[in-house]
Amino acid sequence: MNCKRAQADISLFLDERLDPSRQAKLNKHLEACEDCSEYLEQLRVGLAMLREMPLDTPSPQFEWNLKRKLQKAQLEAQILREREGGKSRHWAWFAASAAAALVISLGGAGLWYASLDSGSPLLSSTPGLLSEPAVAQRHETAAHPVPLPVQTNPSDMMSVGDAVYGPLRPVPANPPSGSGEAAPAAEADSLPGEAAE
């Protein structure tokens, strides 16, 4: 056993955490090594001084200040709880309002569906996904205006986009460039990634 190892074991020995086999080795080393014996003795005396020292005591104002801080913390916790309670009340009000709005809108939707067959003015004033005036405006500013089909049904709106920008197609992973162009038809029908193969 060398001195470094012995000193590590001395620390464990002081805490009564050294197993018996190592304890025996340490004893043997201490018998032969004066430096390590001295090390152990100095540690014993020095640490005893440290352990015997009474604990430091805070000033007399410590408890008063602590009490003040505890009261403040309690008050803050109470305010936080009340705010959270307020928030939950707010959310309850919001949920009730949302539910009422939903009921009203469902009623409105029912009325709207009922009006589909009756040719009510409600239908024409309801904007679709892309309302007609907006489409018209967009095409007026396009470089190559295309005559617009008249849109009355929102489900037909996709055809408006098709008319201007061409039909929606999958985008190839590696768009062809330069002279090595793939046939547009084949490319358009292929899935992303397949065009490159």
């Binding site: 620390s11 464990l12 955490r17 100095q42 540690l43 440290l50 604990l55 410590f62």
Partner: protein, 212 residues
Amino acid sequence: MVDPASQTNHHELSDEDLILQVQQGHRRAYDFLVLRYKDRIYSYILRMLRDPDLAEELAQDALVRAYVNADKYRTIARFSTWLYTIALNLVRNHVRRQKRNPVIRMPLLDGREGGQTEMEAPGNEPLPDDVLQKEETRAMIGEIVARIPEHYREPFLLREVHDMSYEEIAAATGLKLGTVRSRINRARSHFRVHWLEKFKDNAETPDGGPQQ
């Protein structure tokens, strides 16, 4: 409110029972924990930071945090370990902040410059020799401890002054058990070196240090 029956035996309750009472809303139970721990926590922080005002402030903060978070305490750890963990985190946060924005303080860390230490008695009345001797020894030990590198000092103080087991220290500091062992060993080596520097002159006195 507090049950009169439980109020009478607060002194006999363990720390863990007291904090469980706090969790149940018996605020008065916390007063007993404060009484038990205020000196220990203050003392630990003071020996870590060597600044009495700061130590008071952080000790108060630790006790407030423990109270505010009492419901988070679980009985898998001892209350003392949990409280020291809180105190230790506050100390570490302070040290981290101080490293970022260093503040020049009075030379408390090194009494050789003769700076006023917190160990000096207030007032101008002369103190009896034995009291002076004790205060001087206390100041010297404080200086020795302060010279141990901070990361060794943390587990060292918990072991030597607060008598925590290696397992409790590992839980409080977040260190592995092997690291706790080696840091305590290294801290003791540092302590011994500085202790010899301070006390070798008194080595021949009856209550002095080791013979050289």
